[in-house]
């Protein structure tokens, strides 16, 4: 058994480009999914009944589907239905954003709900209106509870970007597997792929731990 690890170095440009795409996808997805998640959460908490039902249905639907299926569905179905074809990258981004928005909506909703009623009442008896109570009392506390979960979702998202490789988006997983197919250096490339994800993901996981310790709730 001979291993040729130089193949990793030879293709470093492609791997770096793939890694950049992975990071881009992660950042772009969160940039969409955080505001959208807030909107959906607010609709779920404060909207009229039909709006609440719709928002809940959306969240429950996407939380109970495998992401890889959503990616496939997003790639094959809209072009037939609407005649529009998005690039694989855009499609992948859309699928990821739909998925993560649902999780974020649940995170925001649970975070806001976890603030005891008494807090809002205490704010109101001081003379604050609903908006002020929300802004100055509920949101600061909710942020403390939401941030750790959001950080955890971020790391999961980072790993989930690998799934859009199935529709040929040129992120890290796809690029690695292409190089593997072309060079026949299976063990080297797959191990390199795992190693790069590890190098990027491990510090992120540790950062999440730090955030969770820092924002730990002690009541």
């Amino acid at each position: 058994m001979s291993f040729d690890w130089s193949v990793v170095w030879q293709h470093r440009d492609a791997l770096i480009a793939g890694t950049a795409t992975t990071i881009l996808l992660t950042v772009a997805t969160m940039a969409i999914a955080v505001p959208c998640g807030i909107i959906v959460a607010i609709l779920r908490l404060y909207g009229w009944a039909p709006v609440r039902a719709l928002a809940t249905a959306y969240v429950e639907f996407f939380r109970n589907l495998p992401l890889i299926l959503v990616v496939f569905w997003a790639f094959y179905v809209p072009p037939i239905l609407t005649g529009l074809g998005l690039s694989p990258l855009a499609t992948g981004l859309a699928a990821l954003a739909l998925n993560v928005t649902a999780y974020n909506a649940e995170t925001f909703r649970a975070g806001i709900n976890s603030i005891r009623r008494g807090q809002v009442e205490a704010a109101m008896v001081l003379g604050m209106n609903r908006v002020q109570a929300l802004r100055r009392v509920v949101v600061p506390q909710a942020v403390r509870r939401i941030l750790p979960v959001l950080a955890s979702t971020w790391v999961s998202l980072f790993k989930d970007t690998s799934l859009v490789s199935v529709i040929a988006v040129t992120e890290l997983a796809y690029v690695s597997m292409q190089i593997r197919a072309q060079s026949f250096r299976v063990l080297e490339m797959l191990t390199a792929m795992a190693a790069i994800y590890w190098l990027l993901g491990y510090p992120q996981a540790k950062l999440v731990d730090w955030i969770q310790r820092r924002f730990a709730i002690t009541e």
Binding site: N64, L65, I68, L69, V186, L187, A194, Y197, A205
Partner: protein
């Protein structure tokens, strides 16, 4: 635009076998990762220092590496290292177990650590040994406390089996891909697959919630 769901009914056996493999892989890898996770957690909580360090490294690594990568590595790279060839289902089982056991271990650890220290003190005061305390007092309460997290992990397990399609395991996702490709009817096929997954996953999460409501008081000290 007309939808022809005959493609589903014509090939229901093909799809049903996919559902069967999905369920089988979910249940088996769920069980193996549970057992492996328990062992890993106990090593982390009560094992000697070098073992504990190795375990923490393993757990944190699984938080960094995607399931897809673990599965692909298990199927394509592991045989090169070990000289053993594994059928796709076995490779998927190995990959899923290795990945999910790390999460299971964290759930067990969190559950055990969440039991009040007063419970240990009360049991010590009665004269119980450490082993007796873990077995009879800590674990029963911890297991109840772990239920919601394990329900969530089961849901993740079922979703992760769909990724095994990438290494040609004939579960539902793979069967759907094949059928959609051959029939040129991706809308019907993938929509059907979505519904099947939803109707498997939704009851699982709801069921765990309801079961937990009933037994939560057994874990509240």
């Amino acid at each position: 635009m007309d939808f022809d769901f005959a493609v589903i009914t014509d090939h229901w056996r093909f799809l049903a076998s996919g559902v069967g493999i999905t369920l089988l892989l979910s249940v088996v890898s769920g069980l193996t990762s549970l057992v492996a996770g328990l062992v890993v957690a106990l090593l982390r909580l009560y094992g000697p220092r070098p073992l504990r360090v190795a375990v923490v490294l393993y757990i944190d690594s699984m938080r960094a590496i995607p399931v897809l990568v673990v599965l692909v590595w298990s199927f394509f790279a592991l045989p090169i290292l070990t000289g053993l060839t594994m059928p796709p289902f076995v490779a998927a089982l190995v990959g899923l177990t290795v990945h999910l056991a790390a999460y299971a271990a964290e759930i067990v650890r969190a559950g055990v650590e969440s039991v009040r220290p007063g419970q240990t003190r009360a049991a010590l005061a009665l004269g119980m040994s450490r082993a007796q305390i873990v077995r009879r007092i800590i674990l029963p309460q911890a297991i109840v406390r772990m239920l919601p997290a394990f329900g969530s992990l089961l849901s993740i397990t079922i979703k992760d089996t769909a990724i095994a399609s990438v290494i040609a395991v004939p579960e539902l996702m793979r069967q759907s891909e094949t059928l959609a490709g051959q029939s040129f009817q991706p809308i019907e096929v993938y929509t059907f697959a979505m519904l099947v997954y939803f109707f498997i996953l939704f009851p699982v999460t709801r069921g765990v919630d309801i079961f937990y409501q009933r037994v939560a008081h057994l874990g509240r000290s």
